[in-house]
Amino acid sequence: MILVVVGMSPIPFDRLVVEMDRIAGQLKEEVLIQTGPSKCSLTNAKTRRFLEMSEIEEAMKASAVVVSHAGMGTVLDARRLRKPIVILPRRKKLREALDNHQTSTADNLRGKSGIFVADSEHELSTLIERARNCTIENTDDSRKIQLISFLRELIDHD
């Protein structure tokens, strides 16, 4: 299964949704698209407007690859569940977001094990196949532990 996520933004992200529906027509496996406020009519994939956190978690566990906008929530979830993820950043110019912070997120994530950045929707199908066959290296958690310990100390100290 492939899970497609566009996040909680009130702005639709049709570029990702439409292309993934097209790809779903060529694939044998199930594709579940969380569409958000998109109004496009989709024919091939299973769709849901929004998914509860627990549903996202279940769907992600069942997926071979996650495809998503470059939102940190989904990336962090995929990372935690050790699922390969393909991200397509929302662009301000195409009126998919209020600013270009997703592009900079994508740039920061580029090259990390298990994360594939698509610069346009046309790269998605290639990257999905690459992601499917990749092995995810153990992640370096030291910076996360550092952040958590700082907060922990701050909380306990008070």
Partner: protein, 460 residues
């Protein structure tokens, strides 16, 4: 008529050509035998001094703080009664002064005769809104028998001012509050008269908003809490009375200036949470702790003292919107494992699991009213939970959540999104310097924002 005391109108000016002529003419027109006008000008670059010369020879120059200019004007004046006025006051009728002066005979300790102020007839919306709301607040304080403070634009006994040592020369804003409080401490009384003066202040929206911040800042130290008005009543005056006034003003009085009220209220609440209320509630909290110690310590009732010391660990508050910011928050949950935690987030299709007690509020950035009601809800939650630390990972819900958290004395932490590696988010920019810990997830940002941000690791 002859044994009426001399009244000295002491007026500081600075580029006041728009209002000064009307102000001085209305003073000169008073049917009163002995009036003196003293001007202390801060080196105006417009026609201010020329206008002043038409009415008085007593013009002095001084560059510096408002409190200092006022004190100079008092020292240069000779009257037994001081009219400490601003240059944007107009006295509406000729018998105002003779009426007002009589009220000094009301009691032996009357030091101040304090009039009501209203907006001039052709005032701007902002002026009218400010004065309309002000009138409601004063009325409320009178009906609840709170002490009234005669601030600026009132009449004072010179002897009272001499007893308190004059105006504090080091205060620029809130200098009137300072002397009013010192008069109160000496046991002087205020007579409030409902014979209004025109006060043509707050002529632009910008001024109206910025004065809220300046005012809150000025009261932040000690002034506000010594008014002896509970916070609940201050909020009542600002919010409930304001909204009632708005309904009444728009529907019955047909005064469109009230349409500006929601924005004015938001500015005011932001100003309060930023400055004065923070100090006030912290002051309150401290004094309560102090009282507890005081009542338990003298005879060494050991058990009770321990009760005070062994409070149960305090609650941790988390505030974030319901998308990726929530996911980021959950990734940090190791930091507060084992502690009592509550979450404030937006109601929506996605709900946090495994975080703790959850409070849902409506999204706040839809319209100004939502922002106010959202902020009020957050304030209520915070007052109930009394967290010791409040952490937010964004987005804009962090603005009300973290600023209001200071009200309840909580330590505030903002964790900027990991997606921000080159620039802060808008929320982040607005919170910069307003939280106890501002954590960024990319060390590069430190070179741009300096010591106001901290890098302590990142989620990935």
């Amino acid at each position: 008529m002859t044994n009426l005391p001399r009244v000295s109108f002491c007026i500081p000016t600075l580029n006041s050509e728009n209002t000064l002529d009307n102000c001085l003419r209305s003073i000169a027109n008073q049917e009163y035998p002995d009036v003196e006008i003293v001007i202390v000008d801060g080196f105006s670059e417009d026609r201010t001094v020329g206008i002043a010369r038409k009415y008085t020879d007593k013009i002095y120059f001084e560059k510096g703080k408002l409190g200092s200019a006022r004190q100079t004007s008092i020292e240069r004046s000779t009257g037994r009664i001081l009219g400490l006025f601003d240059s944007d006051i107009v006295i509406p009728h000729k018998k105002w002064l003779i009426n007002a002066v009589r009220f000094f005979n009301y009691g032996p300790r009357v030091g101040t005769v304090w009039p009501m102020y209203v907006a001039p007839i052709r005032a701007r919306w902002t002026t009218r809104l400010y004065m309309n709301h002000y009138r409601l607040i004063v009325g409320n304080r009178i009906s609840k028998r709170y002490g009234l403070f005669g601030g600026g634009n009132s009449l004072f006994l010179r002897s009272a001012f001499e007893e308190i040592g004059g105006v504090n020369r080091n205060i620029h804003w809130g200098e009137d509050f300072d002397w009013a409080m010192r008069l109160k401490d000496k046991g002087y009384q205020v007579v409030f008269i409902n014979d209004p003066l025109y006060h043509d202040t707050m002529r632009t929206f910008r001024e109206l908003v910025s004065k809220q911040f300046i005012g809150a800042e000025a009261f932040a130290g000690t002034r506000f809490k010594t008014m002896d008005i509970p916070i609940a009543d201050v909020l009542y005056e600002q919010i409930v009375l304001g909204i009632k006034g708005m309904a009444r003003g728009i529907c019955l009085e047909r005064d469109p200036s009230w349409l500006l009220f929601p924005i004015y209220l938001i500015a005011k609440m932001l100003a309060y949470s930023w400055t004065s209320l923070i100090e006030t509630s912290a002051g309150r909290r401290d004094s309560r702790v102090f009282e507890q110690q005081l009542t338990t310590s003298p005879h060494g009732i050991q058990g009770k003292r321990d009760d005070v010391g062994e409070e149960k660990p305090k609650t941790i508050g988390l505030a974030c919107s319901n998308g990726g910011h929530l996911t980021s928050m959950m990734q940090l949950s190791e930091a507060w494992r084992g502690r009592d935690v509550f979450v404030v987030t937006y109601s929506g299709p996605r709900k946090p699991t495994s975080l703790g007690r959850v409070y849902y509020i409506d999204e706040i950035m839809i319209n100004p009213i939502r922002l106010v009601t959202g902020a009020m809800n957050i304030l209520r939650i915070l007052a109930e939970e009394k967290p010791s630390v409040v952490i937010s990972t964004g987005a804009e819900i962090a603005l009300p959540a973290l600023t209001l958290s200071k009200l309840v004395g909580a330590k505030t932490v903002f964790v900027e999104s990991i997606s921000r590696s080159r620039d802060l988010s808008l929320t982040g920019k607005l919170l910069l310097g307003k939280v106890d810990h501002f954590l960024v997830q990319w060390p590069e940002l430190k070179s741009k924002y300096g010591n106001e941000v901290e890098y302590r690791g990142r989620l990935l």
